[in-house]
Symmetry: C2
Subunit: 136 residues, 2 copies
């Protein structure tokens, strides 16, 4: 029951996670994010290092804007792109949560292993048997 409740997220949050992860699943789009993370830039500046048409880069930029990762504002005649610094927060929280789950599991396994080792030490009969079977 708890698991089912936990999965019942507001649809908007789920949709946002879908869009951000899909936006990040492309090397050109990640390179654009890397560039904009250092400083904001004009569309033409962003497109410059890529060996593809301005139109192709613009399509990637539109995907990034739709996901909320990249924002656009006008400065005179220029379109300036920048990163929405909040956009990766939800993604970060989600990955952090998963990591916490499995780190807890790894900790539990480690504890179990330590207990087994301790039991092993407390049973010298078992140890001598091990030696006879040729363990180092």
């Amino acid at each position: 029951m708890i698991e089912i409740e936990a999965r019942k997220q507001a649809p908007s949050r789920t949709a946002r996670l879908d869009a951000v992860f899909a936006a990040l699943a492309d090397p050109t789009r990640r390179a654009i994010i890397e560039r904009l993370s250092r400083r904001e830039a004009r569309v033409t500046e962003v497109a410059e290092p890529f060996q593809m048409s301005l139109n192709a880069v613009s399509k990637h930029i539109r995907v990034l804007e739709a996901s909320g990762v990249v924002e656009r504002h006008r400065k005179g005649r220029d379109h300036i792109l920048s990163i929405n610094t909040r956009s990766l927060d939800e993604v970060d929280v989600w990955i952090g949560l998963m990591r916490r789950y499995w780190e807890e599991r790894l900790d539990a396994m480690e504890r179990l292993l330590r207990e087994l080792k301790k039991e092993h030490k407390l049973s010298p009969k078992e140890r001598s048997k091990d030696r006879r079977h040729g363990s180092r």
Copy 2:
């Protein structure tokens, strides 16, 4: 030059990031990861809470396996699925790097703002002018 060098990653790392982000861009697949992060499970157990065919869930599981996020091993007649705890590390590193970039930028903006405030305080003429213009 530095930027171009930084973007020259081993193709395998880029491909892995593409695959993991694409795998995460679906709510069913994220729910499967959430479940498996708590404990390993049989394919049928994983499929159980979803209102879709076992075949449809199996397709999602295959995407997760191809991305390296989920692993499968056999225990007698059962196929057991588990999380590869290392799989999200690269994703985590990438997001952490982006975050570091823009946190540095936010810090720099904050320093600038603090300096501007200090300058403002050191110029009482400007302050009295402000007051006359009716700022609170």
